[in-house]
Structure formats: C-alpha cells, structure tokens
C-alpha cells in the first residue's frame, strides 16, 4: 500500500526519522534574516529546527509542508496548474 500522508509517514519510525533528517537539513538552509508566521507564531530558523527536532505539532506541520513542496516539484504537478 503506498504511503501518502504525513500521518502514515510519522507512524513508521524509520520513515519518520528519514523525513526528519531531510527536513532538518532543508530548514537548516533557511536565511537568517527572515521569519515565518505559523499558527500566529513568529518563527526563525532555530525555532523551526527546534520544533522539527521535537516532533511537535508545528514540527510536523513543517515536515508536511516540505513534503508537499518536494512532491509538487518532483511530480511536476505545480507546473501543470493554472
């Protein structure tokens, strides 16, 4: 059965670890002079890294956002829209 959702990925310890490692690397290249508002909270790079490392709700959301982004780019679906 194909694994499609973030819930399915985080339910598998091995996959979850792989995704977290990937996302930590990707968040790690975030510019230092910007921040992102997520759920009304202002988060800089280090705070995002902490959330992903912790695996809390915000961290999981960041992981899902990264996954969706990578899927959109690699599948080409984003280029076909509009």
């Amino acid at each position: 059965m194909p694994i499609n959702t973030i819930e399915q990925i985080v339910a598998d310890p091995e996959l979850k670890d792989k995704l977290r490692t990937l996302v930590l690397k990707r968040v790690g290249v975030m510019p230092d002079d910007m921040f992102i508002y997520i759920g009304g909270t202002q988060l800089n790079k280090q705070q995002l890294l902490d959330h992903v490392q912790e695996g809390d709700e915000v961290g999981q959301q960041v992981m899902e956002t990264e996954l969706d982004y990578l899927r959109a780019l690699t599948s080409g679906s984003i280029y076909a829209e509009q």
Binding site: V29, M34, Y37, I38, G39, T65, D68, I78, Q82
Partner: protein, 214 residues
Amino acid sequence: MPNSKVFLLTRPRHDALMRYFFAWSDPLVAMASSKGFNVCDLHDGKANKALLESYIAKNCPSLILFNGHGTTDTIHGDQDKVIVDADSKCRRSIVYARSCSCGERLGHDLVKGGARTFIGYRRDFYCGCSYEHLVDPKKDKLAARFLGPSNLIISTLLKGGTAEEAYQRSVGAMHKNFMEMISSRADYKERYAARYLLSNMAHQVLLGDALAMA
C-alpha cells in the same frame, strides 16, 4: 438582506503579524471608499465581539474581511480574544478570513448560519517576512508575495467580481508568485519561502455561493 455597499473589516494590530495585516488592509479600505462602499473599520480595540456583532446587525455588510489569528473553530480579534465562532451570524455576507485554519470547520458553520460565501484556509495561513521591514510592513517584498494574492480576493470583490473570480485570481497570483520565487531571478529568501506560499495556495477554500458578488 445585506446593504449593497457596506464593507466591514476587522484589523487588530497587537502583534507583528497583525501589524502586517493591518498595513496591508489600508489599500483595501481606500479602494472600498473609492468604489462607493461604506467602510466599517473595526481596528485595534474595536476588533471585539460585541462591536462586531452590533455592526453586522445594523449594517448588514455585503463583504467582510477578518484579519486575525484563527483556529478551526474561531477567529480572533484584538488581544487574541475570540470574535467569531460557530454560532456567529454573518447574515448574507461574503466572508474572507485571513486567518489560520478556519476553512476547515468554521467556514462551513458560518455558511450554514447564513453567510453567503466563505473564503479562507483549511490549514495555517503562512506569511514569510523580513526582519528589516518589521517597522514598515508595506515595504516587505517577501510578505508581498503572500499578502498581495490575499488582498486580491477583496479587491476583486470590490470591483464587482464574483467570489469564484476572487478565489481564482488569488490562486492564480499565488501560482505566479510561486513560479517566480522558485526561478533563478528570485532572491534567496523568496526561494526558501516558496514552499510556504504553496501551502497557502493548496489550502485556500471557497465555500457556499461561488457566484456571490459584493
């Protein structure tokens, strides 16, 4: 029935993100006035539940913009106090909530409760910002990538477009911005922030009457 020319907006500014939303609402207030709308501007401390309900009851706005933090079941006003919940009545208004997550449940509740149309987000509304522009949000080009398409929803409705046109123009603008942000012409911050704009685009929803006009 809503009065044909009333635009109501809430815009607290008790934190940095709200100051961004406040500033980016300025052109919408000006446009509404120029298009002949009466504007009910519930700013700062006026963005409270009692005043909001009173204004809606008295003015029956055709168009409502909520700027504020949100959850799946609530929209917040000044000092993050809840001003809209599942029991709120938005009469026959078109509602756009620039808030997190309320497209998941609250939007459905508002439409069931009488709102003609609801546009919002099923997940968090992300906004990328630059530290250097915190004091002057309108000059923040990174935030413009997020808030420009968001403003298009209201500006399209003020110009007489349908809710569907407003929704599609906004999604189209997000897509255009996204493609520019992942191109080699974009700066580093834009390239990084693109993933968050993609999420806004993917989770924006239109509920209720797609043909509604303000």
